[in-house]
């Protein structure tokens, strides 16, 4: 290809050209507007940067080629025959361009989000280094505030939320017997929005005045007064949020319209149910955080008065709008993990999921209740006091559907044939940690207790028990569980188990003691603290460094196994769901022939039960989900040879 052709066609060359052009455009626009109003000086760095923060990511997306097909179509030119040239991976380069294959996008998502996980994890190490002793050692207070703000924002918006979208991107279309997602080009756009948001948040460290330093909650009016770095957050969140909404819409349409024949809602694996309910949460809730950050952006950039008191602003309004998203976001970060755990426990215990329908109903119950509890983050905020008790009650009621899930998982293990492989270990670690996180959650729901412990390390402990011991452990479980399917290789079981035990132990040594310091009087988000907390903080810091090191085992295992691990069979866990009935990794268009679903996904131990059949096997009598002993006429799937164990 000629050099000029490279700059004309979609890809990195064109993106590299478009981004600086967007900056020049922002400069031109600002200068033009300021000239029209007669403002001085014409060159205002802050204004230019604000416009550029919107224009440059869009220019990058145009350059890399996310919009090419749509622009072509919108310009009214003759329809191009789809040649599938942007579908599937032929070499490592295929992962670095706009690709419409859900499997490639899934891998892009997972690798990108793990990159941000590592970066945000390193920020956490810096935080713990500073907190090892009282006083100021490594970073000044402003940098420190930036560290924990960027740590939380990147972990939430660039790791936990999107990594689930990545895992689901790979497995959900396979699980429902679909050749791809419903909108493959939208899927690609959803992915490419992410790195722009992530780079923007990290780049805020380079902004004058340092990174955004108001926490991931960015409470106004602090966030409307802090330096330029805040702008990187308010705008970055818009891109991450747009990515979430687009991919959630895609999942909803895919799951509703693209299920294989026979795949009724009551035959869907719970992973699919989880992704369905999560997507509902995302499309309903995410516009609220977009709104809250737009208010901040407008207050900062255009001089509006959403949050300036005395001119009609209302400070508490920010918190209501913010938490109306950010509490459901907790479930956005948890429900997909619930789905993964259901798959892992059922498969590795070789038993049907206990109370399958209640498991699905409890997901729906959490979605509904999840929208009725946001103000429990505001018990000491000075809001209307009558609202507190109803929110306490709804918050505590969420324990009921969550309890159903935990009890059903452990009942699934009962009388199973348990294979204690790495994904199963992480699932059990998850149940332990999440039960503890749920218990501290109940305590936090009780208003008098929260009046004391809100904004303390007790809350830091709680959030890490539910988001690390909870969500991240489910992510590890899912990555190990589907690693053979995604890469076509087996991971190293011994290293996996070592990784589990080290992270389980050091996780608890790191975050367990935080409960004590919090109740004892240490507030969160402080660079410096009272001397009486020195010993326990040193202990926490040392544990956290070892905890961080344990991740390297995972990284080593993943990289070496992906390159040189033994080849994986199509179905190493002898699972029933459809993704395991195709080769590892799956064929480029998933199925030569769309399967027909004839039974539930978890019919382990039921003689002759089959979930889905291909081609010739289609004659078989269906066995409905949830029925015991529905013995179809012969033809139980012979268990394929297991590659390991």
């Amino acid at each position: 290809m000629t050099l000029a052709g490279r700059f004309r066609g979609p890809g990195w060359y064109r993106a590299a050209l478009a981004v600086p052009l967007a900056y020049l455009f922002a400069m031109g626009l600002v200068v033009a507007v300021r000239a029209l109003y007669g403002w001085d000086p014409l060159l205002d760095g802050k204004a230019i940067m604000t416009v550029a923060l919107v224009a440059m990511p869009l220019a990058f997306l145009v350059g890399i080629g996310c919009f090419d097909y749509w622009f072509y179509w919108a310009s009214g030119r003759p329809t191009r025959e789809e040649d599938h040239s942007s579908h599937g991976a032929t070499s490592w380069r295929s992962y670095f361009r706009v690709n419409t294959d859900h499997k490639v996008i899934g891998i892009q998502y997972i690798c990108t989000t793990f990159f941000f996980f590592i970066v945000a994890g390193l920020l956490a190490m810096l935080i713990r280094a500073e907190l090892a002793q009282p006083g100021t050692q490594f970073v000044d207070p402003n940098t420190y505030n930036g560290l924990f703000s960027v740590h939380a924002s990147v972990m939430i918006f660039l790791f936990i939320i999107p990594v689930f979208a990545g895992i689901a991107n790979f497995v959900v279309p396979l699980m429902i017997g679909a050749p791809d997602m419903a909108f493959p080009r939208l899927n690609a756009l959803s992915y490419w929005l992410l790195p722009t948001a992530g780079v923007m948040m990290l780049a805020s460290f380079l902004a004058p005045g340092g990174a955004f330093a108001t926490g991931w909650t960015a409470y106004a009016p602090l966030s409307t007064e802090t330096p330029m770095g805040q702008q990187f957050f308010t705008i970055g969140v818009q891109f991450a949020g747009a990515s979430s909404i687009a991919t959630a819409l895609n999942f909803l349409v895919t799951i509703i319209t693209m299920r294989a024949p026979g795949m009724t809602f009551w035959r869907m694996p719970l992973m699919v149910w989880a992704q369905f309910t999560t997507s509902l949460l995302v499309v309903i809730a995410t516009p609220f955080i977009a709104g809250s950050q737009f208010f901040v952006l407008l207050d900062r950039s255009l001089g509006t008065h959403f949050f300036s008191t005395g001119t009609g602003g209302d400070v508490l309004m920010y918190q209501h709008v913010f938490w109306f998203y950010s509490h459901p976001a907790v479930y956005i970060m948890m429900l997909p993990g619930f789905g993964i755990i259901s798959e892992v426990i059922s498969t590795h215990s070789r038993k049907p999921v206990f109370g399958y329908r209640m498991m699905a109903f409890s997901l729906v119950a959490i979605v509904i209740l999840g929208f009725t509890v946001w103000a429990h983050h505001m018990f000491v905020s000075g809001m209307f006091s009558w609202l507190r008790v109803p929110m306490m009650i709804t918050t505590m009621l969420i324990a009921v559907p969550t309890g159903i899930k935990i009890f059903s998982w452990i009942a699934t293990m009962w009388k199973g044939a348990i294979h204690l492989r790495t994904p199963m270990l992480f699932a059990l670690g998850f149940i332990t940690m999440f039960t503890l996180g749920g218990i501290s959650g109940i305590m936090l729901a009780v208003i008098p207790v929260t009046i004391h412990v809100s904004d303390t390390y007790f809350v830091v402990a709680h959030i890490h028990y539910v988001l690390f011991g909870g969500s991240v452990f489910t992510i590890f479980a899912g990555i190990y569980h589907w690693f053979p399917k995604i890469t076509g290789r087996m991971y190293d079981e011994t290293l996996g188990k070592v990784h589990f035990w080290l992270s389980f132990i050091f996780f608890n040594l790191t975050f367990g003691p935080m409960h004590f310091v919090g109740i004892d009087g240490m507030p969160r988000r402080v660079a410096d603290y009272a001397d009486k907390f020195a010993t326990i903080n040193l202990f926490i810091s040392i544990s956290s460094f070892l905890f961080g090191l344990s991740f390297l085992i995972f990284l080593y295992n993943m990289i070496t196994s992906w390159r040189n691990g033994p080849k994986a069979a199509a179905n190493p866990w002898r699972a029933h769901s459809i993704e395991w009935q195709v080769s590892s990794p799956p064929p480029i268009f998933n199925f030569d022939e769309i399967p027909t679903v004839v039974g539930g996904p978890y019919e382990y131990g039921v003689p002759g039960a089959v979930h889905a059949v291909f081609g010739d096997e289609k004659r078989k009598t269906p066995s409905p989900a949830g029925t015991v002993g529905a013995t179809a006429g012969g033809g139980a799937q012979p268990p394929p040879e297991s590659q390991i164990q």
Partner: protein
């Protein structure tokens, strides 16, 4: 071990769980969780927390007992191709584990509500203190006692006090861990806290809401003193015209606290 467990699994597990629950409750109740109790609210909140602990231990033990037992009893060797029992559910069990948690959390919510009403009850003739927050310091005005203003919060033991909390700039949060009380200071609003100090001592008021670069140093002294000493302190304050730089009045019972300058001094 494994065979004995298989024969009477539920009985054995119940026994082990009971012992573990008893031990667990004994341990969590013996942990010294809280700072000292220095207000009327603190005793009630600490008891509520203890009740929550007692309710939580059996739940955690039950979940762990089933997990550990299942792993011990139902683990198979690698390469074992057998399946588990095809049990799809049990309606009675599912009704039980919806009903019992529902009743448990409802009871705890009612108890929490009762405690909330108690600790926020209005008392007659309270000492009114205007708490004024700014980046990054507190000041305390005593509007009912003449023009007294102070850098440290001095309170008489045994008299009900009502805090009216204000802020000049961003959101702060007024927190005295020994009182177990916290309320945000919100621009445009006045928030309220009520309590009665019950123990003479020196504590800290801590800012609990991120308020900017000096947030971690926004800690100032709280003194709870006998009523007589409080009176002496007030008259000394009035005599010196509420001079903010001199926080120590009666040196016999009130020692100078950490002032604003000392608090932010560590920042630079």
């Amino acid at each position: 071990m494994s065979r004995a467990l298989r024969r009477r699994p539920v009985l054995g597990m119940a026994l082990v769980s009971l012992i573990a629950t008893a031990v667990g409750i004994a341990i969590v109740l013996n942990i010294n969780w809280f700072p000292v109790q220095a207000s009327s609210a603190s005793t009630e909140i600490d008891t509520l927390y203890d009740v929550l602990l007692i309710a939580s231990v059996p739940v955690f033990v039950l979940v762990m007992a089933v997990v550990v037992y299942s792993v011990l009893a139902f683990r198979v060797k690698p390469g074992d191709l057998s399946d588990g029992a095809p049990i799809h559910g049990n309606t009675r069990l599912e009704v039980i584990w919806v009903t019992i948690p529902f009743m448990l959390v409802s009871a705890l919510a009612v108890y929490g509500w009762v405690v909330l009403d108690d600790i926020e009850a209005k008392a007659s003739n309270p000492l009114v203190v205007d708490v004024r927050a700014r980046q990054f310091a507190w000041s305390f005005d005593y509007p009912g006692e003449g023009k007294v203003s102070s850098d440290q919060l001095v309170l008489p033991k045994g008299r009900p006090v009502e805090f009216r909390i204000h802020t000049k700039d961003v959101i702060h949060s007024f927190w005295v861990p020994e009182f177990r009380l916290k309320s945000d200071a919100v621009p445009g609003l006045t928030t309220h806290l009520r309590t009665t100090p019950t123990r003479v001592g020196r504590y800290h008021v801590v800012c609990a809401e991120l308020c900017g670069i000096g947030h971690s140093t926004m800690r100032q002294r709280v003194m709870v003193v006998p009523p007589a000493a409080f009176g002496r302190w007030l008259s000394h304050k009035k005599a010196t015209g509420g001079d903010k730089s001199d926080a120590g009045g009666d040196t016999a019972s009130v020692t100078p606290g950490v002032g604003y300058g000392a608090a932010v001094g560590g920042l630079r």
